[in-house]
Amino acid sequence: MTSVIRRLRHVPGYLFLGIFAIFSLFPLYYMAVSATNTSRDVLGSRLLPGGELFANFAKLFQAQDVLRALGTSAAIAIGTTVLALLICSIAGYGFEVYHSKGKDVLMGVLLLAIMIPFAATMIPLFQVFAKLGMVNSLFAVIIPAISTPLLIMLFRQSSRAFPSEILEAARVDGLNELSIFARIYVPTMRATFAAAGVITFMTAWNNYLWPRVILIKNEVQTMPMLIVNLSAGYVTDYGVLMLAVLLASLPTVIVFLVLQRSFAEGITGAIK
């Protein structure tokens, strides 16, 4: 009897989790299923997979250069992630391992940049890149995104757990400072790199406003830009649109699912 009551106590918790999980997953399911249906069926709220996937693919590839947009988005997301991990990890390491008062002050100043809304810097950045002839250049998309105070913070906080004995031992062994970082620090901080990588990749892939401002030429567009253009036509084919949205979402969803365990570990390590 008491065990039944004890079990019943957990019901509201599971109910709440269940409702929220459905709320979270339903739009994703709706997106995936609609990609296989005709526009009519999407508006008719058909919630079962249909047979229109290939027809939608054909229509989508006819309307937009999807492969090129996927390539552009991939180049931006991968380029940003690689450079950001490199620059922010070495900075976070520098702040923590070579700790000094001056560096603390500098970190405080850099953190102020979090409060600067991107909208505020967008116009001058556009002017500068225009002057440099970098409008439509992918570098113009990448450069403003590679050094962020939050990422530096993430690495700095996580570096606290890096044992200083290893550092001393490596120095005694004659390793120079840069190879200590590359050969000892990087491999031990894998979870932090995964967390930082997931966040940066997602943000870069999904970013819309800045690429929209700086990539003016019609042929140079990212996946988020492509799907917005697709939806802006006079007649929207909802099946085709949902397929494009699905294609735009899959890479980040896959990256997250593959790295999610280390992602959670990395965030936990940073919040200590």
Partner: protein
């Protein structure tokens, strides 16, 4: 003062010297060499932040004091003309009100939900934990414009949500065509996209809390509710503060959802400040000066709200 000298010294030494490489550099004391290596390591990141955030911020201030179309700009007369114009701009006022509606309604609901969800997930006896966590975080992997278009389709007049309402015999709602419902759909979208994101932070925070403090409270006869409020929440305070500041910041900079989900409409009823800034700066008659003034107002709001939150959140009782 010391900040300035420290930064300048860092910049000078960093530019002049590479990280020392063992032999041949013995003339530098090892402490000093150690310190210089540190500066060299953080120089690229610091320099980039200065170049893409601080310098443009100053340029934006100069721009906000200028008027003119496109690239032909001249000093405004009076200098604060753009700011004065903002005060009388009805559309700006509307977008300011919209943004604060989103802030005041959405952020507390989202953080509350995220906190409750994280607390449920932190229970060691919970089953299917990995499934719940993945399901609730998954929306964060989807781009803002992508989910905006999914919501736009679901809430179309002849879309899924109205079909469900019809099953229950309710009249269809013109979700995106009425000011209040358009704002409601936008808030719902924000809750969908960001609750899991904040939950992950709370979950990480909870895992760093010593469980014995919670068990001790339960032993002393506190119920689950009391334990949650009196023991768990106070220990999570730094993280609640972090998420509150990040969410406030994000809401004030809201753009994608306003752009792709409601398109700011009907009329300007659901438009965010950043969306209006984009319209002023890059559409129709581009007016960089006016846009920059608007950007500064957003910046000041972000800074003031962050300052208030830090003051309230850091108070010890």
């Amino acid at each position: 003062m010391s900040a300035l000298t420290a930064t300048r010294e860092g910049a000078r030494t960093g530019r002049g010297r590479r990280p020392p490489r063992g032999e041949g550099r013995r003339w530098l004391g090892s402490d000093r060499r150690h310190n210089l290596t540190g500066w060299a390591f953080l120089l690229p990141a610091a320099l980039l932040i200065v170049l893409v955030s601080f310098v443009p911020m100053i340029q934006a201030l100069v721009l906000s004091l200028q008027t003119g179309r496109g690239t032909r700009l001249s000093w405004a007369d009076p200098l604060w003309y753009n700011y004065e114009r903002l005060l009388g701009d009805e559309i700006f006022r509307q977008t300011l009100v919209n943004t604060f509606i989103y802030l005041v309604i959405q952020v507390p609901i989202m953080l509350g939900l995220a906190l409750v969800l994280a607390n449920l997930l932190n229970n060691p006896r919970l089953r299917f934990k990995a499934f719940w966590r993945t399901a609730i975080f998954l929306p964060c992997a989807v781009s803002l414009v992508a989910y905006s278009l999914v919501f736009r389709t679901m809430f179309a007049t002849d879309g899924f949500v109205n079909d469900v309402l019809a099953v229950f015999g309710a009249a269809p709602v013109n979700w995106l065509g009425e000011p209040d419902t358009a704002r409601f759909v936008l808030i719902l979208g924000l809750l969908w996209r960001w609750t899991g994101f904040n939950m992950i932070f709370f979950l990480a925070g909870l895992q760093n809390i010593d469980r014995s403090t919670i068990e001790a409270a339960r032993m002393d006869g506190a119920n689950a509710w009391q334990t949650f409020w009196r023991v768990t929440v106070p220990q999570l305070r730094p993280i609640i503060l972090l998420t509150a500041i990040m969410s406030t910041n994000g809401t004030l900079q809201l753009f994608d959802e306003s752009w792709a989900l409601t398109r700011g409409g009907p009329a300007y009823a659901s438009m965010s400040m950043s969306h209006y800034l984009y319209e002023v700066s890059f559409q129709r008659n581009p007016n960089f000066g006016y846009g920059a003034a608007l950007a500064y107002v957003i910046f000041i709001l972000v800074a003031v709200l962050a300052f208030i939150q830090l003051r309230v959140g850091d108070k010890r009782d």
